[in-house]
Symmetry: D2
Subunit: 117 residues, 4 copies
Amino acid sequence: MSDADLETLKLALREFAQQRDWDQFHTPKNLASALIVEAGELLEHFQWMDRGDRESLSSRQREQVALEMADVLLYLIRLGDKLNVDLIAAARRKLELNALKYPASLARGSSKKYTEL
Amino acid sequence: MSDADLETLKLALREFAQQRDWDQFHTPKNLASALIVEAGELLEHFQWMDRGDRESLSSRQREQVALEMADVLLYLIRLGDKLNVDLIAAARRKLELNALKYPASLARGSSKKYTEL
Amino acid sequence: MSDADLETLKLALREFAQQRDWDQFHTPKNLASALIVEAGELLEHFQWMDRGDRESLSSRQREQVALEMADVLLYLIRLGDKLNVDLIAAARRKLELNALKYPASLARGSSKKYTEL
Amino acid sequence: MSDADLETLKLALREFAQQRDWDQFHTPKNLASALIVEAGELLEHFQWMDRGDRESLSSRQREQVALEMADVLLYLIRLGDKLNVDLIAAARRKLELNALKYPASLARGSSKKYTEL
């Protein structure tokens, strides 16, 4: 992981798991499960809303949403540690692939194209 | 977002959406939906495996998994941009809350405690 | 399972797995994972839509959505078989609990109440 | 929906929503979101377990799992009502497609084939 803050979080999570002897539970499969469970808790905040824009959330909701997002990020970092995936580098590769797949000139304003993203 | 690489990705994603006129689709609700869809594609790789350890994945699988993780990260960054959530700061707050909730002395080796995480 | 058609599907799924020697993969954990992966494929159809009303879907989309819903149902039935859960009876219990939790007189028209469902 | 018990549940859910004026929230998109949120709550019970076999669950856990499965089924039925999808008929079509896709003679004991399911 090339990113200083992500690297710091990765080491903090590693220590956190070791101190609690939780490494035994942190298989990639279990971490991917825990990640989607947190993604569900994140989506739950928005499930009956139209859009969920920032202004429509109370400050309490905003903090709850931020902490659910944090949970997703923490499991993502932990999974990256276990699988030796550099998240930032992978995100850059994915962005380049997306740029090839959806040229701005073709995709522009096209919801049809977009729904095939 | 205090993190240089995440900040760079945030700006790249913002430009990517603007060039394609996709901002109209990027409501927080839609981004949270897209995030969990990607989390499902990530979990799909592991669903019939016992553990999914790194050594048990082919290099092709590893790259596919890395790109699914990238998709989750990219939607998380985009959602953070829309909701003005600093992901790194939120992750630090969450880690501190977890440390209070699961003191190492009590949680150690306790799968029972753990399952209540 | 008290329901004739669900019972028939349960037996068909059991035979399907046995003929392929797939029972070994069908742990409750794996089936719950497979179920949410299919739920993600279902949500994918709607992720960039406003509402996803029936009339806004093409007949091809409608059939794809129906088959994703079928996948969710099939894994749910298979999980019910493995855990000996009578789905229909459980759904009736849940409906009764919901009726107690959300009395019509209080919940009526209240989106606030609803968001706490 | 050709199934008597599912039909009864469909009508009960319809009445439940009407009495609370909740129909306005039950767009297909929102129902697909709520469904995956419940699928996450179901998976949460299994996320740190090895297999989650029936005998390894307490009777309290079993009832909680049954009620999460019920939630998934109820949203699936409600979505079927909104989209006019006959769940049982769709499940039969899907089973037939799976039988063509995974002939028993080829798929037997093959985890490789299986992981491509």
